[in-house]
Structures are given as C-alpha cells and as structure tokens.
C-alpha cells in the first residue's frame, strides 16, 4: 500500500496549474485531508481516481487563475477562434486531411508502443512486498576463476539453510516442478500436469489472492493441493464454484507411484505480467519425504529448484551476498581434490522486479522481455511522435502563410500577439482532436496483430484504464502545444507591412527553422531504414550461414516416459519409405549445452583436470548421419558400444574441444584417453576419444562454438530426430502418429520440424525486424505526406517565379532541379547525421551475436537512395505539374 498513501502528484500539479494562487493552499489542504481520511478508511485503489475527479471538478470560473479567465472566457474570443479554426480547416480540406492522417498515424504508433512498454514494465509489481523479494541465482566458476554459468535456479538445500542461518531472510520458498504427474479426479485422468511443489512460505512471499480457502492453512497437510481458477475449471468443470471442491481428493500418479492429495484452496489465475505461471501448488515437504534428507541438503549442483527469498524491510541484498564464502565453507568446505568449494560457487540475489526485463540466465523459467527492446521501442515511439508533430508544424506554417494577409488585417484591427497565438493554437488543438479518435481507431485495428505478434494480451480499453485515458488527454495537450507553438509564434511575429504585402516574406531566410525540421524528419527516416537493413542483413546472414549440421527436413519428436523399448520404437518409426536415418539424443542442435561434468585428460601418463568447461550431450550411433555432421578424424560410435554395460566411456569431441586440448591436428587426439564425469559418480568412466567432428553451431549464432563432447548414451535419450523426404508429408506424419499411438496410447505425438525450432532461436530478432519494418513504413508515410504538402506550398508561392523563368526560356528540368536542389542538400545533411548515430545504436545490438554480418557499403548508401527516390517521386509530380502550366496563367493577375 505504500504507493497509495500520497495523493497523486500529477493531480496536484494539475490543480496548481489552474487554481487561483490565493486559494490553492487551503483547497489543496482540504483535498489532502479528505484523501488521507479516505485512504485510512477504505484502502481502495479508487482513492486516487477520486482525487483526480475532485480536482477536475474544481475547474470552475470562480476558482481559476484570473488571467486565464480573462483570456479565455471574458474576452469571449474562444468562440471566434473555434469558428475561424473550423472554417480554415474546411477551406483547406486536403491539407487538413494530410495533417490529420499524419498525426493520427504517429499518435497510434506512439500509443501502441506506450501500451506495450507499460505492460512490460508492470511485471511482478502486483506482489505486495515486491521490493523485498529476491530470486536466488547461483554462479559457477571454472578453475581459472572465470564465471562459467549463472543459473536462475538454485540447489535443493539453499533456501532452508539460508533462511535458518540469517535472520535478515524472513521467508524462503522453492518451486520444484516435479515430474509432471498424471492427475485423476473422480475417475477422470488428466495426463502430465505441471504440479509445482513449494514451501509453506510461498504465500507469505508472493501475493496470490485466494478465491476460496485460506493461504495460512493451505499447506498444513503435506498432501494438499492448491489450484488456480483455470486449473479448477479444468479438473472440476466450469461450475466448480458450486461444487464445494475444498477437500476433494486428487490422485497424483507417476511411474507406478501414487498419492492422493486434497484440494485446500483455489487462487486467482496468475496474472499475465508475472515471470512464472503455475497451475498447481503442493507442499514441498511431500517431496522432501520422497527424496530423503541427503538429496535435500545439497547446495552444489542439481540446479532445479527455483528459489525466492524475502528479506526484512530495508535489508540490502548485499548483506546476504557477503556471507557466501562463510556459507560454502560451512556446508561444503573442501572437495576431495583439496580445492575450496567457495572458489567455484557463488550466489547472487536478483531483485524480483528486475527479473522480467534484465535477466537471461541459464534455465529461465519463461521467456523474459528485454530492456534493450524497451529502449529501442521507446526511442522509436518518441521519434515517430516528434516526426508527426514536425510534420504538422511544417504543413501548418505552409498553410498559415497563405493567411498572411489575414494576420496582417487582424493586426491592423488591433489583435494582440497573444490572441494570434491563441488562434493558431486553437487550430492545432482542433486538428489534434480530430486525429485522436482516428489514432484510437487505428490503434484498435492494429492491436490484435501486435498482440499476436508479441504474445501479449494488451487492450486499448479507455474506460477500464484510467491511466491510459489521462495519459491520452495529456498527450493531446502536449502534441497540440508542441505542434502548434512554432507556427503560431512564427506567424504572430510577422512584420505587419510584410504581412500585408503578402508573399514576399515567405522566401526569405527566416524559413531556416523549417529546414531544420525537414532535416530531422529525414534523419529519422534514414536512421530507421538503416537500422532495418542492418537487422535484416543479420537475419539473412543467420538463415544463410551454414550451421554445420542439417536443419531442413528433420522431424523432432519428444518422447514420453511410456515409450520404453527404444530400439523397437525407432525401428518401427523408420519403417516408412519417406523416413530415413533417425537418432536418439538427450539434446539436439538448436538447444543449449547446459549439462556438464568434470573431466580429466590423460596426457602422457598423468591425468590433468580440464581447465575449460566441456559440456556433454548423449547421442546414439546415428547422430552424425542424421544431422550430416562430418568426422574430421577417427570413427563414429558402433551400435554395439554400451557405456552402461561395458564399463568404458565412448567419446566423440568436436574440433573446438580438440583445439582446447591442445591439438591443432584432430587426428592426433584420436585414441587419447579421457575420463569424463563427476569423480565420485561411478556411472561415467574413463575411455578413449573415438573421433573428432567438424565444428557446428549447437547453440545459436549468439554464442561462440564451444568445446563439447558427445557420449554414446543409453539413458536420458528423450528425443528422436528423423530425416524425412519432402514428398507426401501427410502419409509420413500419419505413420509417425499411428506408430506413436501403438507405443503410447495416452498421449499424442509431439513432433516439430527442426528448421522451425532453428528459427525460434532468433524469434526476438525476427520480431524486432518486423516491428521496425512497421515503424519505418509509418515514418516514411508521415514523411511523404509532409513532403507532398510542403512542396505543394513551395510551388504555390513560386508560381510566378516559375512563369517568369519559363518565359525567359528555362526548361522543365531546369525548373524541377531548382526546386529539388534544396531537398538534396537537406538529405545530404540528414545522411551525415543519421548513419553514424544509427550505427552507434545498432552496433550494440549486433554485439549480441558472436557470428555477425559485416555492414556492407550498400547498407549505408541504400537509405539515402531510398529517401532520395521517395522525395523525387513526391516532389517530381507536383513540380512537373507546375512547370507544365502555361506561364500566362500565373503571370496574368496582379
């Protein structure tokens, strides 16, 4: 509630802006007194709204500052401003249309971006104690003391030990998604549900409002089950509220073991803006009993326990972090090889509120957002809005200068500067007011696409979203003031004599500021096109670069635990003319190399511990054939090799590993002895390196190719990849599904194409590219509208000049180039500013990739050429039209 205590600052600022200074103090005091009283009595979120409402209701002639009253009401010019404003907008219909279109597109883009950013920034803030909640992340170091991995998960023992040892930690919970058990309710089976086991503290740390049941007692029995609204609907039907489901038994079943849990509560669904989503919570004590004390006290490795800590109010996370050496000394001490554990492990408390935007650690529970994306979008949003405003300024000054004579006459009749400014500001407001509904319509139309695209559920519901409405009102005012200020100031300053003479003033050097504005528009457009091209070329670089393995026409199948006889399963799968070569693997290319163990390498006769991380995957003898990965030296696994039965390790390494071991010639490392696995783990053992494969991009192009080892595995083989032929895919898939059903009738086959998984690695980049394409189109559209309007104006004022030039024998090209020359210069300046700036910004993005495209010359030049062409087209047509007019037409009147 701490944020709710003070009355909204914005409302007070608003109040101060209009309220008569003599009345301000006590009126505001009255309001605040009542506000605090309401907060004390109701604690509702409506209090702020109430405050705003009261402030709005204070806008009354009696209470408003005197000078404002005088200007707006007493001089009763407002009506006149409006009337003249409407007349002018109507008179220059095409100009008004261009203005409204430009502004509304810019506004719509800005509103959507603002919605998106607001949503991204609101992750996890609904938890009451969000400021004091931290996620425990674990860092691993290699023997050189370099950070090798940082995990979003901790080990089983961290939470309880930290909480017991340090009083600053008031609550701690783990989340452990155990084994996806099948649930049975009233004889109906729900296979593989994600039941998450958590400590009792979970309801004290996170704010999970209960619909029924009591969070304090929800976990008092170790076989309790807390549902969310949606899982309650799933298990008990839509009318679960009528069924009194508290106390209902739910059977959990997995691999023959089973236990009956009792429903003790139903929570609200976890909001979209949360960095994890669970459907079922159960007490972790159940798991503890199952796993036994020894595995629950582990504080090194087995990072599967999502761990959150709540600290005492005002405790800095560093106080806990500083205890890490003490912690590891106490619970681990030294390894059997005499090294201190504290040199290899470390923990860090990550603030809950920074997780969604700033965290990308090993094993993030869900895809997080990125602060970089927010910055890029935010910048673009503001730029687009500015471009739209500038567009308005340009067009408005163009149109207003047709009204020089009007201004002149007004001045002669005694109009003051302020009333002229008010006149033009009023007109800016009118255009804005027209643009806003259209912007909202555009926004509503575009929103579903944005949602689908960004995987969001944003809504543009102004009634439910008061912040949005208020923001929109402020935005209108801001845009109107920005866009109306220059034209009105400019016109009101015009020299009376010049104004009455008419057009002579227009072509003077006073129009320089407008050139600056046009140049700014060009800068934004060129910058966006450049950015887009760089992103696109990086994406096509990714698509076209050879990952070192085959990614097309491979079907990937995740196995279920009901499939046990792997040999038969594979044989039956491959028993189809369109399917050839299949391999089992624990992980496949496009994945992460997250599993690793210690290793020793036999150099001469002595064993040396590896000083680099050597992650492993488990594969079978068909892996290289299926993925078409070449062997540089040595030979492949044989089907008969069995690491489990033979008590020998069979290893293939990649070339990077060979190099890391100190062998530049891969054939030299073949046959050398390697001992892989934890020293106290008997399941892995010494063996020989059978072969060396070429390097391939197991992980995405964001990462360097790292050393890795492939083991001939016979456990954890939970994926099957098969080469398929492109023809008659339907029958292939039929075969896969029917074979699957033979082995596992309970679940359906979960198959995907590898190239799809491959592309997903770059989903964030694809999204960015599409979004920037859309923004670039908008910027170009707005820019074009502005250009068309402005050139039309320039030509209007130069008609006589053109006429005279033609009479004196100028050709059409002469005239057109005379007008176009100026734009060429502006584009040139814009180019010089835009490309280095955009390059500076985008190079940060490119740095995310270890393997990246180089920026070719054409990428630098293309934006300028594109802008030149766009300008030439929009300028050319009108220039041509003007220069084809018979000179008599424009010269005859005087």
């Amino acid at each position: 509630m701490s944020t709710d205590v003070h009355p909204p600052k914005l409302a007070n600022t608003l109040l101060a802006s209009f309220c008569h200074p003599h009345y301000l103090e006590d009126i505001q005091g009255d309001l605040e007194e009542e506000y605090y009283e309401r907060v004390r009595d109701t604690k509702g979120k409506w209090n702020k709204l109430w405050y705003f409402y009261q402030v709005f209701k204070l806008i009354r002639p009696k209470l408003i500052k005197r000078n404002k009253v005088k200007n707006l009401i007493y001089s009763s010019m407002l009506k006149n401003y409006l009337k003249i404003g409407f007349r002018n907008l109507w008179k220059y219909k095409s100009g008004t249309l261009i203005n409204v279109l430009g502004l509304s597109t810019g506004l719509a883009a800005f509103i959507l971006i603002a919605l998106f950013i607001k949503d991204e920034l609101s992750y996890d803030i609904h938890h009451k104690d969000a400021d004091n909640i931290y996620r425990l992340t674990i860092k691993n170091f290699n023997t050189d003391g370099d950070l090798s991995r940082q995990w979003a998960f901790a080990s089983a023992g961290h939470a309880t030990r930290l909480k017991d040892d340090y009083a600053e930690i008031t609550h701690a919970t783990r989340f452990y998604p155990w084994a996806f058990p099948d649930l049975t309710v009233a004889g109906k089976k729900f296979p593989s549900e994600q039941v998450v086991f958590a400590d009792e503290d979970v309801f004290d740390i996170f704010t999970f409002p209960f619909l029924i049941g009591d969070p304090q007692t929800a976990f008092s029995d170790i076989q309790s089950l807390v549902l969310t609204e949606s899982s309650a609907i799933k298990l008990f039907g839509n009318d679960w509220r009528g069924k009194d489901i508290i106390g209902e038994p739910v059977k959990l079943e997995r691999s023959g073991q089973q236990a009956t849990f009792t429903v003790t509560g139903v929570m609200e669904n976890m909001p979209e803006q949360q960095h994890f989503h669970f459907e079922y919570l159960a007490p972790i004590n159940f798991i503890e009993k199952l796993f036994g004390e020894s595995s629950m006290s582990n504080v090194t490795g087995n990072y599967n326990w999502l761990t959150y800590l709540k600290l005492k109010d005002g405790t800095a996370p560093e106080t806990i972090e500083s205890k890490r050496d003490e912690f590891f000394d106490k619970y681990v001490g030294q390894f059997s090889n005499g090294l201190d554990a504290k040199a290899f492990y470390d923990f860090e408390l990550q603030p809950l509120l920074s997780i969604h935007l700033n965290s990308s650690l090993e094993g993030e529970i869900e895809n997080n957002g990125s602060i970089q994306q927010i910055l890029i979008f935010g910048t673009i949003g503001v730029l687009l809005l500015l471009v739209a405003c500038i567009n308005y300024m340009n067009l408005a000054t163009s149109h207003f200068s047709r009204r020089m004579k009007e201004v002149g006459v007004r001045k002669v009749m005694g109009a003051q500067k302020s009333s002229l400014i008010n006149q033009f500001l009023t007109e800016a407001f009118l255009v804005n007011l027209m643009a806003v509904p259209m912007a909202i319509v555009l926004g509503v139309l575009a929103l579903p696409y944005l949602n689908e695209f960004m995987d969001k559920q944003l809504s543009l519901n102004l009634i439910a979203n008061v912040d949005l409405l208020l923001g929109l009102v402020l935005l209108i005012i801001l845009v109107a003031v920005i866009s109306g200020s220059y034209p009105s100031l400019f016109l009101s300053k015009i020299n009376l004599i010049q104004a009455l003479k008419g057009e002579s003033a227009i072509n003077s050097s006073k129009w320089n500021f407008r050139n600056v504005l046009v140049t700014f528009q060009y800068v934004v457009t060129i910058g966006l096109i450049f950015t887009l091209l760089v992103i696109e070329s990086q994406l096509s670089f990714i698509q076209n670069s050879d990952p070192g393995y085959r990614k097309d026409q491979i079907i990937h199948l995740s196995l279920s635990r009901n499939i046990n006889n792997l040999d038969v399963f594979k044989r039956e799968m491959l028993n189809h003319p369109n399917i050839s070569n299949g391999t089992y693997a624990s992980r496949i290319p496009t994945g992460r190399l997250a599993d690793s163990m210690g290793a020793g390498f036999f150099k001469n006769d002595s064993v040396v511990g590896l000083d680099f991380r050597l992650p492993f995957i488990l594969v079978d003898e068909d892996f290289l054939k299926t993925f078409e990965i070449n062997l540089l030296a040595g030979e492949n696994f044989k089907a008969s090799m069995d690491m489990g039965g033979d008590s020998v390790g069979y290893y293939l390494i990649n070339n990077a590993a060979a190099k890391a071991l100190g062998y530049n010639d891969p054939s030299e490392v073949v046959g050398k002895k390697l001992s892989y696995g934890q020293y106290n783990d008997q399941s892995l053992r010494a063996g020989r390196i059978l072969g060396v494969t070429q390097d391939f991009h197991f992980e995405s192009l964001h990462n360097e190719i790292k050393p890795m080892v492939m083991l001939k595995g016979s456990w954890n083989m939970n994926r099957l990849c098969m080469q398929v032929k492109p023809e008659d895919l339907a029958s292939t898939i039929d075969h896969i599904e029917s074979t699957w059903t033979k082995f596992d009738p309970e679940r359906s086959a979960n198959y995907r194409f590898l190239d799809e998984i491959f592309s997903e690695q770059y989903q964030a980049e694809q999204r960015l590219s599409t979004m920037i394409t859309a923004f670039t189109i908008i910027a170009i559209l707005i820019g074009c509208l502005g250009l068309i309007g402005m050139v039309g104006f320039i030509i209007d004022t130069k008609l006589k000049e053109i006429g005279i030039r033609k009479v004196l024998g100028a050709s059409i090209t002469n005239i057109a180039s005379g007008i176009g020359k100026k734009f060429l210069l502006l584009i040139g300046i814009a180019f010089i500013i835009a490309v280095p700036t955009a390059y500076y910004l985008i190079s940060g993005w490119l740095d995310d990739f270890v393997y990246r495209t180089s920026i070719a010359l054409w990428i630098i030049l293309a934006p300028a050429v594109a802008v030149l062409m766009i300008t030439a087209i929009s300028v050319g047509y009108q220039t041509l039209k003007a220069s084809l007019v018979n000179p008599v037409e424009c010269l005859k009147d005087e």
Partner: protein, 112 residues
C-alpha cells in the same frame, strides 16, 4: 430595501459556516452539510460558493495553523460577517413572508 441575493446552496453553506462557528473550514463545512442534510457536496461546488460569498463580503476568512494531516497546508477558516448575517436574516424574513402569504386552502386541498 437592498437586494441580498442568496442561492439555495449558498444559503446552506452560509448557515453551516454559522453553525460551525470558529471551526468552519472546507472539509468541516462539507462534512457538516453531509451530516445534517445527507447531501453529497463536491469540493468544487463548495469552494466556489465560499469564494463567491467572500467576494460579496458575506464571509470573512483567515488562515489557521498548519497541520501534518494536510501535508503541511494551512486551513482557511471562514466566519459569517455582519453583512452575511443580514443577508441570512433577510432571506429568512422573505421566506417567512411568503409562507405567511400562502392561503390556508392550498394545504387543505393537498391533504384532502
């Protein structure tokens, strides 16, 4: 006779200020009206009525002490002036005259 014009709401406010003698500032006046008449009053309406009557010199005002509840802002206390009293008296007087002028039959007719 000089015209002491008082709107219905103004009259209520003026009377309430008189009732609260010495303790009449915005929030209090508002609450008192709500308590006695069960009528919702917006800050805007109340404040503009107070200022209007201050301008007409029916009310006088002075700042009180600053208090913490109000974020350090001072209260403004209102008091009814002599002119205000006259206006109230005048209003009451005219009402009474009007009441007295109603022929008896009107009410009888209603109750019949």
């Amino acid at each position: 006779m000089k015209d002491y014009q008082l709107g219905e709401f103004e009259e209520i406010v003026l009377l309430t200020v008189a009732i609260l003698h010495g303790d009449a500032y915005g929030v209090n006046v508002k609450k008192e009206i709500q308590r006695r008449l069960g009528r919702q009053v917006s800050v805007g309406a109340l404040q503009s009525a107070l200022r209007r009557m201050e301008e007409k010199s029916y009310l006088a005002s002075e700042f009180g002490e600053a208090t913490a509840v109000r974020g350090g802002k001072r209260k403004k206390y209102f008091a009814v002036t002599d002119l205000g009293k006259k206006a109230l008296a005048y209003t009451k007087e005219t009402r009474n005259q009007l009441w007295d002028a109603i022929p008896e039959v009107v009410f009888k007719f209603r109750w019949a």
